[in-house]
Every structure is written in C-alpha cells, then in structure tokens.
C-alpha cells in the first residue's frame, strides 16, 4: 500500500533522476551484494577439485589430506597440493580456485624472498600490497567491507524498530509517558559510549554480536527523537481527529494513519546512520576495540599502518575506501532528502 502510493513513486522517480545519488546507490548495492559472495570470489580454498576422476567441493565439505594422497587428517594446503606428485601426474586432475586465490587470513610469507618482510608494497601479485602478517590487503579489504556493511545494516534494522516504537510512544501518548521516557533517554545518552564498548568487551569478550548489541543499545536514540517529533505533530492532524471521531481505536490510528506519514524523515536519516556506524566501527577497529582479530576490517588495517608509516598502502587504500563509501552514501542521503523534499509543488500558489 505504501509503496504503490503515487507520492512514493514520484519521490523514487525524482531520486532516480539525481544521477549522482542513483549511481552511488547502485554502486554501493552492487558492491555489497558482490561482497556477500566473497568466499566464492577471494579464497584460498578452491571451488572445485577434480582428482582421479571424482569431483570434490572443498568449500562445502571437509576433505582431509589423505583423500588427495597426503598423510595428514587435516585439510590440505591447496596451493601446495597442485604441485604434489599425486596431483600433477595426471593432467586430468585440476583445481579451480576462485578469481582471487588469496584468503583473508592466508599469509604469504612463503612467497617472499629472503630480503622481503611483510608488509610488502603493491606489486603484480598483490594489487594493494600485503599487511603486517603478509596477508593480501585487497582480500582483507574485500571481506572487511562485507563485515562492516552487514554490521551496519543489522544495526539499522534494530535501531529503526526500537527507535520507532519508543519515539512513537513518546509522541503519541505524550504527557507522563513522554516525560519519563525522555528522562530515561537522557540518562542513557550520558553513558559514555566508548567506555561501554570497552566494558562490555572485557566482560563478555569481544565479538561481532556483543559489539552489535552494545551499539544497538545506544543507536536508537537518534531515531526516536525524529519519530517523537513526527508523532507529536501528526497526532494533532485533522485526519487523525477525523479517525477518532469515527471511533477508530488508538492502535489502528497509530499504524494506519500516523506511521505511514511519519516515515519520511526516517528514510532520509538512514544513510547518515549508515555512515555513522561504518565510521564508528572503523574507529573502534583502529583502536583495537572493535571486531576482534583475525577478522579483517579497514580500521584494523589503518591501525597497522599507523605503526608502520612507511607502509603507505596500509593507510592509503583503506582510508580511500572508507572515504569513498562515506561519500557515496552521503550522496545517496542527499538524493533521498531532495527527493522527499516537502516542497514538491512546482506551481507558485
């Protein structure tokens, strides 16, 4: 119902016309979707092995070395496998690696010559160089993108639900409900965010989930302010009064009348919320309090670079990527804001 609304359609069309915003949006969407398939694009585990007539899919199931003629029960080193006798004796045996045959945790120390120490500068083999453990920077950035975007998207999901419910309640019921919740929010927002992260991290150990839960605990506050304002305004709207005159109960009024009309600032707020969470997550990773190692992230790479300033690629590329994503997202945000602009009439009256 909401989406087929000609107003919404008109706004989407206006957004599309804003090429800068629209292409930024497509770019972010495309790169995110691609990054979801990261394990199939950049991995040191092959997609497919044909050995002695049978097909093996090492990504889907575990095959130990013995299967391929080795004598260990662990997973083989696939790169070395190619070179073993059992394999290379027949040309029928082949291994298909993903496009980028590096894993995000795979160190390439073996590939280095005598005088080379990680991190190495970008060259033919590693487009963006390697980090301080000899891991491919591009692959780490690729996976890191997936993690931070996913984190932000899940975060947005939760903060919207919580923010809309709480802000909506404040705005609609007003009076004591509003005052009480507002005081609670003020107490909550005076708790220093960084310290909470540290405390939660040291108490429960650092992990994606702990970080997400702690962050979500605070992030909904911004949205609740918007929703509170919108609900406050809309509860006095004449069509709401008309619905009350028909005897429509409160809950139906909230969902059918107020909520659809309150969504507008929410949509324009979301991209900026995304920027916020990506930035903060990167900052936390930079300081070492974010997503724990060895998980890849841009902030962590930049953190490595801080200690080895001569390894400019460790700072440069992740920073540039961070800057780009934030810039593109802000284009999307601006585009949405313009598309949803209240002054939609072009006549003068």
């Amino acid at each position: 119902m909401i989406f087929l609304n000609p107003t919404t359609r008109r706004r989407l069309a206006k957004f599309q016309k804003n090429r800068r915003a629209y292409y930024s949006f497509l770019f972010i969407l495309a790169t995110y979707i691609i990054s979801l398939f990261a394990p199939f694009i950049a991995n040191d585990t092959p997609l497919l092995i044909k050995y002695k007539g049978s097909f093996y899919f090492p990504m889907l199931s575990f095959h130990s070395e013995r299967v391929f003629g080795g004598n260990q029960d662990t997973e083989p080193n696939y790169k070395k496998l190619r070179k073993t006798e059992n394999f290379s004796e027949s040309s029928q045996n082949y291994i298909v690696f993903p496009v980028i045959s590096y894993g995000y945790n795979e160190n390439h120390l073996d590939d280095f010559t005598e005088n080379e120490f990680p991190p190495t500068a970008p060259d033919g083999k590693h487009m963006l160089g390697t980090d301080d453990r000899g891991r491919d920077v591009f692959t780490r950035m690729f996976y890191g993108y997936r993690i931070s975007m996913t984190f932000s998207i899940i975060l947005i999901f939760f903060e919207v639900i919580i923010g809309v419910v709480i802000g909506g309640m404040q705005g609609y019921f007003a009076g004591y409900v509003d005052l009480t919740v507002q005081r609670l929010i003020e107490i909550l927002s005076s708790i220093p965010f960084l310290f909470m992260i540290l405390i939660m991290g040291s108490f429960f150990g650092r992990s994606f989930m702990i970080l997400l839960i702690t962050y979500a605990f605070f992030a909904w506050i911004g949205i609740s302010y918007y929703m509170r304002g919108e609900f406050y305004k809309l509860r006095n709207a004449q069509f709401v009064e008309a619905a009350k005159a028909f005897g429509i109960p409160s809950h139906k009024i909230i969902f059918r009348h107020i909520l659809p009309n309150a969504m507008t600032p929410l949509v324009t707020f979301l991209p900026f919320s995304l920027i916020g969470s990506i930035s903060i997550l990167s900052a936390l990773d930079f300081l070492g309090y974010g997503i724990p190692a060895p998980n890849p992230s841009w902030g962590e790479l930049i953190g490595q670079g801080r200690e080895r300033l001569s390894a400019w690629w460790l700072i440069g590329f992740p920073s540039f990527a961070l800057f780009s994503i934030i810039q593109l997202t802000s284009f999307v945000g601006e585009g949405l804001r313009d598309a949803f602009d209240a002054k939609e009439k072009n006549s003068l009256k």
């Binding site: 072009n346 006549s347 003068l348 009256k349």
Partner: protein, 328 residues
C-alpha cells in the same frame, strides 16, 4: 478626470522549464484619481498576480512581462529604471496585504518598521518620521500610541496590526493603495471597522484604492467600479451598479447566484459551477470558461472572445459580440 493607472493589454507569462505559460492575458483596466476599483475572482484567477505586476514585484526569473503596458501617471512602469521603480514602490503606490503577521517583520519594533518608508522616500529625518507615524496611528484609531510603537507585531491582534499596516502605507502619501484581501483574515466586526477607515482615508486624501478580494459583497458595497477575473483574464468590468444589477457574463451571474442573501427565506438553491478553475498550464483553447459555462456555444471552444461594451460595463463573451465596438 485622468487615469492615475492604466493597464493596456498586459500579458504576463510564467517561465517554466523551457516554455512560457500565460498566467495573465490581455489585462485592460484603469483607475482614476480618488476611485476605488475592486478586483474580484476566485483563487487562481490571477488577481494577486495582477496587483504585484503593477510595480514589477513579480520575481524576474520566474515571470516575464510578455506584452502590454502599465501606465502610471502616463509613464510606462515596464520601462522604469531601478531607481524609478524603488521610488514608486511604497512612495506613490503602497500595498497592504492579507496577513499582517507575515507582512510585518515580527522581530522589529513597530516604530522601526513604520518609519522605514518615510526615511527611504521622503527624508532621512527620524524625528520627523516618528511624528508623522504617530499622527497617522492616531488617525487610524490606535490608542496607547507610545506603547504600540515600542511593541512587536506578535503582541497585538490582527485588527490592530492591519490598522498599523494601513498607517504605514500612508506614510508617503501614496496616490494609489493596493489592498490585497486586507480584511479577509479578520473578524467580521473588525472588518467593518477597517473598511470604514479605508473609506474615510480615501475621502480625506483623495487616494485611489485597488481593492482585491474574493468577497463580492464587501467590495460591491464600497467600490465605484469592479472587475471580475477568471483564469487570468478579465471577463467583465464596469460600474458596480451595472455589474451587480445586470451581470452579463455567465460566470458573473453564477458567482452572484452562489452567494446567499440574508433575509431571503425562499430557500432557493444556490448556483454552483461544476468543474474546477483551470491552472495556467491547463488554460483551455478558446474561452477559458467554456467548459463550465451553461451557455457555451461552439465558437466558445475554439476562439477567445474579445472585450465588448461601454465604459460603464464591458464583457468578454461571445453572447454579446457584435453589440458594441471593442473597448480599450
């Protein structure tokens, strides 16, 4: 009596994307010295645009004065230089608008606002200006003048503010007062007071008034002449008595029939006009009113009628064409 203001075949276009759409077409009227001319019409007819066009107040990038002349004291305003325009506005032609809360600056004291026109147009002597302001405020019936001067617009009621607006517009003794719905936002009893005040000022200063309103009853009681506008055109004009007692244009007739008369116990049905007023982008070919007219003929759909009639009453309608020569 000479014409103080005369509009000759004025057309104003709206510039949109790459085209220009007419919003005012072929506007012809005149205001003599000391005369009250009423401009009447429903919303979207262009009456406010006409009032702003007089002193080229329409934003330049959006509107273009496509053709015609605006003659004030026989000089064409469309050819005025910047300085001439500035001296015209507020000096010889003054405006009062509908909502005094937005037409007066809410963050400036009354004293500072009301002397502004005087300082700009007549003399930079602040003391003189304040004296004149106070005398005008007394004339428009404001009590506690010293307090009012020091106060801000938000502290007063609409009726008082509108009186202050009138006083402000009189600071430079204008020859023409353009009043755009000056009483529409006011209560009925206050409206009566303001209207009486305007009439008195007109009498004393021999000032002309261009009174724009949608309230036909009001303007017909105070004006000498009246113009009916519809969709950017003047459809009928003439002396108030002629137009009110013998309306010619079907729109005028319908409009008058839509207004109930107090004291009429007959319960006769009110005339309503089916359809809606077309926006400038949808102005029909031919007569702008033909789609809603009960007396429309074939020719009305394709050709725009010219104005025919005398000084005392003229109309733009094919029902009357051929009766008199065209009236400029």
């Amino acid at each position: 009596m000479t014409d103080l203001l005369r509009l000759e075949n004025l057309s104003v276009h709206l510039l949109a994307n790459h085209s220009s759409i007419p919003v005012l077409q072929d506007i012809n009227f005149s205001v003599k010295e000391g005369e009250i001319l009423a401009v009447v019409g429903e919303s979207g007819c262009g009456k406010s645009l006409t009032s702003l066009a007089l002193t080229r107040l329409l934003p330049e990038k959006v509107f273009s004065y496509h053709s015609g002349k605006i003659l004030f004291q026989n000089k064409n305003v469309l050819e005025f230089s910047e300085t001439e325009l500035y001296s015209l506005r507020g000096g010889e032609i003054a405006y009062i608008f509908q909502d005094p809360f937005t037409s007066l600056n809410p963050i400036k004291k009354i004293k500072d606002q009301i002397i502004e026109p005087y300082i700009i147009h007549i003399s930079p002597n602040k003391k003189e200006a304040i004296e004149k302001a106070e005398s005008l405020l007394a004339k428009v019936g404001i009590t506690d003048i010293k307090d009012r001067m020091e106060a801000y617009p938000g502290q007063m009621s609409g009726g008082i503010l509108q009186r202050i607006s009138i006083a402000m517009s009189l600071m430079c003794n204008p020859k023409l007062l353009v009043a755009d719905e000056p009483t529409s936002a006011l209560d009925v009893t206050i409206q009566s007071q303001l209207v009486d005040l305007l009439m008195e000022i007109r009498r004393e200063n021999k000032m002309s008034i261009l009174f724009i309103s949608h309230d036909i009853g009001l303007v017909s009681s105070i004006s000498d002449r009246i113009i009916i506008m519809y969709a950017g055109q003047i459809v009928e004009s003439g002396t108030v008595d002629s137009v009110m007692d013998t309306p010619l244009h079907p729109y005028t007739t319908a409009l008058l029939g839509a207004i109930p008369t107090i004291g009429d116990f007959s319960h006769k049905r009110l005339d309503s006009i089916p359809g809606i007023v077309p926006a400038p982008i949808d102005f029909p070919k031919g007569c702008h009113f033909h789609a809603r007219c009960t007396k429309a003929m074939d020719i009305c759909k394709t050709k725009n009628p010219l104005i025919t009639g005398r000084e005392s009453q003229s109309v733009r309608c094919f029902l009357y064409e051929g009766e008199q020569t065209k009236n400029a």
